[in-house]
């Protein structure tokens, strides 16, 4: 499984999750977990996704999502989960 963490940070607005999910569905990326919270009016979301079935390269997915973020007015980052596991799990 190629687990990737997608984080979305920015001003809360209608349809952020919907737009990200549409992109993921279109690209055959499966969502394993979503958590979301609002801190001082700012939208914070984390998704754990599986890219195994996606035909797109990591770099392309990351660039597409960053561009989508610009359109919505939020910052979308795409990182392999290993960095978080390394730091927070022994």
């Amino acid at each position: 499984m190629k687990k990737t963490i997608i984080t979305v940070v920015g001003k809360d607005t209608v349809g952020i999750i919907a737009k990200v999910c549409v992109y993921l569905a279109e690209n055959n990326i499966n969502i394993l977990d979503i958590s979301q919270t609002i801190v001082q009016g700012y939208f914070n979301m984390m998704m754990i996704v599986d890219r195994t079935e996606s035909t797109k390269h990591f770099k392309e997915t990351a660039e597409d999502l960053a561009k989508l973020g610009e359109e919505i007015g939020v910052i979308i980052r795409c990182q392999r989960e290993d960095i978080f596991n390394s730091m927070h799990r022994i």
Partner: protein, 454 residues
């Protein structure tokens, strides 16, 4: 499964607290390039480095993108050139041609520094060692990315005072050769006692003769992360403070270990070590001095500074050692003046002197680093400063180093600008009393009593 708070914590370290991997350094052995024909030697060196390192920069960029962690520098270290050039180089100018080859190949593969224009002379100098040392001013003036380091002593051998005397002259000469650029050449020249074979950090990186053909060493950083963690335990006991540093160092080092393993896998090169250093940059919030202030000092250099630095260095190691399968290099907190805004502020405020810095080097990872001094400082005085620093390393069985810049044409009160990661520095006063007769004695300092452990 990971939760949103853990993910947010990691990303906050990267975005707000300057967490990064400071360098991926590819070590390359040049021993099999040795040839008695200088042109052939240069050609072999160029080809070997090019073939080994052509994908280094792109691999580093891929890893940075996929993990979302900046990898600031991609660098190369090679076998000390005095060993490689000995058979072919009959003059110092011959050695300069090798420096130019190293510079050319560094530019070709896109690394920002290449280390290993070096000689290991802790007990004695061969003819080749001396030729290389005498070529340093010209080599550093005629290249951009080459870094030079000389090991002048060790706990096992004592200190080679003839070489220390010579390096006083060479540091001055290097300053003269590069005086148009504020004596920048000296920023790429460091002398050591107990130099490690696997240091990934410049200017002192070289690929030791104990190493394999190729190796990946990684240097992590993150003074900003440690400082932010300490902000949350203001006023707490030493126990709480130490635990906080240790836990933070663990997290920072785990990222370094991950990047090192990944780079090693993708390049098909064995993983060597992670260097657990807190390396500052001139950027705001990326300062080791600021950690010392957060620990409770008004400025770095105030009474208590050496103790605070000792704690910091020790806790960083304790936290980091468990996070990495192999730890090496310099491993500790760096205290360069020009590369650390907090250190610069402390010097300007009059809190930090050369003598206090020397005391601090007894408990930190390296030594007198990136210190600008008046351009009219005598060569023998520089040798004296070097001898003091190396004695600390020799007696305490640790690595110490001197990277000092006599800025030609400038004096105390003036400022020198090196640019980029090298930063800027106020010129610090140097003790004016003479050590000529001491330095000029010649010979070497015998190995200390505790080196005889057999």
């Amino acid at each position: 499964m990971l939760n949103i708070y853990e993910v947010a914590e990691t990303n906050k370290m990267i975005e707000k607290e300057n967490l990064d991997v400071r360098t991926i350094t590819l070590g390359i052995s040049l021993l099999d390039c040795i040839d008695s024909d200088l042109d052939k030697l240069n050609e072999k060196i160029y080809n070997k480095i090019y073939e080994a390192a052509k994908n280094l920069v792109s691999t580093g960029e891929d890893i940075a993108r996929e993990f979302g962690i900046p990898i600031v520098n991609k660098r190369i270290s090679v076998t000390p050139i005095a060993l490689i050039g000995g058979a072919a180089c009959k003059t110092s100018s011959d050695f300069v041609t090798i420096a130019k080859t190293l510079d050319n190949v560094a530019k070709k593969v896109g690394v920002n520094f290449i280390g290993g224009y070096s000689a290991l002379v802790s007990k004695g100098m061969t003819k080749a060692d001396e030729l290389l040392i005498r070529s340093i001013p010209e080599a550093l003036a005629n290249t951009e990315r080459v870094c030079s380091s000389i090991n002048l002593g060790s706990t096992k051998t004592g200190i080679n005072m003839d070489a220390v005397r010579l390096m006083g002259d060479i540091v001055k000469e290097t300053a003269e050769y590069t005086k148009e650029s504020d004596s920048l050449g000296c920023a790429k020249l460091v002398v050591f006692c107990n130099a490690p074979d696997d240091n990934p950090f410049m200017a002192g990186a070289f690929h030791g003769v104990t190493e394999a053909d190729y190796i990946i060493n990684v240097g992590v950083s993150g003074p900003g992360v440690v400082k932010t963690a300490l902000e949350k335990v203001k006023g707490e006991s030493f126990e709480v403070m130490c635990e906080t540093i240790k836990k933070t160092a663990f997290k920072v080092t785990r990222v370094g270990q991950l990047v090192a393993k990944e780079a090693s896998r993708r390049m098909g090169v064995p993983f060597g070590i992670v260097d657990l250093s807190l390396a500052p940059t001139p950027a705001v919030g990326d300062s080791v001095a600021d950690i010392l202030c957060e620990m409770g000092l008004e400025y770095a250099g105030a009474p208590g500074t050496t103790a605070a630095l000792a704690i910091l260095n020790d806790q960083v190691k304790k936290g980091g050692v468990m996070a990495s399968s192999y730890v090496g290099g310099l491993s500790g907190a760096f205290i360069p003046v020009s590369e650390d805004q907090g250190m610069i502020d402390a010097v300007v405020a009059g809190a930090l002197t050369l003598e206090k810095l020397e005391a601090m080097t007894c408990v930190c990872s390296v030594g007198l680093d990136m210190i600008a001094i008046p351009g009219d400082t005598k060569a023998t005085t520089i040798s004296g400063i070097i001898a003091d620093e190396l004695a600390i390393g020799m007696i305490n069985q640790k690595t110490t180093a001197v990277r000092i810049i006599p800025v030609i044409g400038k004096g105390v009160g003036e400022t020198v600008e090196f640019g980029g990661l090298l930063g800027y520095a106020p010129i610090m006063p140097v003790n004016q009393f003479s050590c000529d007769a001491f330095v000029n004695r010649g010979g070497r300092i015998p190995a200390p009593i505790h080196s005889f452990k057999n």
